[in-house]
Amino acid sequence: MSNHSAEPADFSGDEPEGLDGHTIEELNDYLDRDRTPTDASIDNSPGCQIALGTLERLRGLTRTLLDRDALAEPERDDSWVSSILAGLTREVHAGRDIPITHGSPNARLSVTEGAVRGMIRAAGDSVGGIVTGRCRLEGDVTELGEPINVLVEANAFWVDRLADAEEDVRRAVRAELERHTDLNIEAIDVTIEDATASLASTE
């Protein structure tokens, strides 16, 4: 790689003509600086102006190159997706063990934090127009009775009143957690972002 002379003829002396002593690299740097400070010897050179135009065209094409490539990608069948999903290890997101009480004093039962998050998602999703996002259990869930705050993020679509949707999610999540866990829920904090606009823009 250090021996540049090993690659003959493909670059030496091939600066385009008419750049009035400037190089493509200089012009490219000039574009990088948004043509400031102005350089009269570039701005007044017809050859440089043509080259700058070409460089800008190149940039424009480059910006959309990947998107065009992606569109031209062959349609992938479901087996491609499922082979990717099959390679995932589910355990990595299990989180903490959350104890649950049981009639028999000798039995020590627990449920994973990941499973509880799954319950929260399902409860949130059951509210019309809501897609639940990330959930957090704040507090020491590994100790029975410790006060826990639940944080839930969600997207809302075509929801009339976000405040109502938040209340619905809060109620659904609380009911679900009370039914299936012994968590001492202190508060459920729901943050909903209206995503209807983004939906419309992608259609």
Binding site: A6, E7, P16, I24, A70, R90, V131, E153
Partner: protein, 187 residues
């Protein structure tokens, strides 16, 4: 609720999907795979110069993404975050190739004589660019792709490809010159 069709995961924004996936929801991750898989594959193909290894690289990138998603603070950035992972995996392949001597320092394919007329035949500027890129010697093409598509700095490229920064600078200059020439010829 409303007369609209029920919303589904595929409607959710990146932040919501990344958040769910970080929490262990495979279905949300699947939506991300479908949403960005083709782009990631195109990206890997650009960096690697062929699509022979793209599927493997993208698969590895998704596995890593899945494992590390919980470390991503802002789910809105999941696309560029995953793209960076693909690009790192792709560069690992380039390095492995070099260690195995699959590629020497010279252009593996002799540069094809590319007359301006030839490029002008292509149907569009897009094609002209693709053809001009394909005709670049491998090291030039790699540097250019990392700089202009992956947005790496000169120093990052030098580090990733184990080249002196000055060499990267020279390769980029030549690539840019060649591409400019081809684009001007096309015009």
């Amino acid at each position: 609720m409303s007369e609209h069709a029920p919303t589904s995961l595929t409607d959710a924004d990146d932040r919501t999907l990344a958040g769910r996936a970080a929490d262990g929801d495979v279905r949300a991750f699947e939506v991300l795979v479908r949403r960005y898989g083709p782009l990631m594959r195109a990206y890997a193909t650009r960096i690697l110069g062929s699509n022979a290894e793209s599927d493997d690289v993208v698969q590895e990138a998704f596995v890593t993404s899945w494992q590390q998603l919980s470390t991503l603070d802002d789910g809105r950035a999941v696309k560029s975050w995953m793209m960076r992972i693909v690009s790192n995996k792709s560069i690992d392949r380039l390095r492995a190739r070099r260690e195995h001597g699959d590629i020497d320092d010279h252009d593996p394919q002799e540069p094809i004589e590319r007359s301006p007329a030839h490029v002008a035949e292509s149907r569009s500027q897009e094609e002209a660019l693709s053809q001009a890129l394909a005709a670049l010697p491998e090291p030039q093409r790699q540097c250019w792709t990392l700089r202009e598509i992956a947005d790496y700095s000169y120093e990052e490229i030098a580090e990733q490809l184990d080249l002196p920064t000055s060499t990267v600078r020279g390769l980029l200059a030549r690539a840019r010159k060649a591409l400019t020439r081809e684009m001007e010829a096309w015009r």
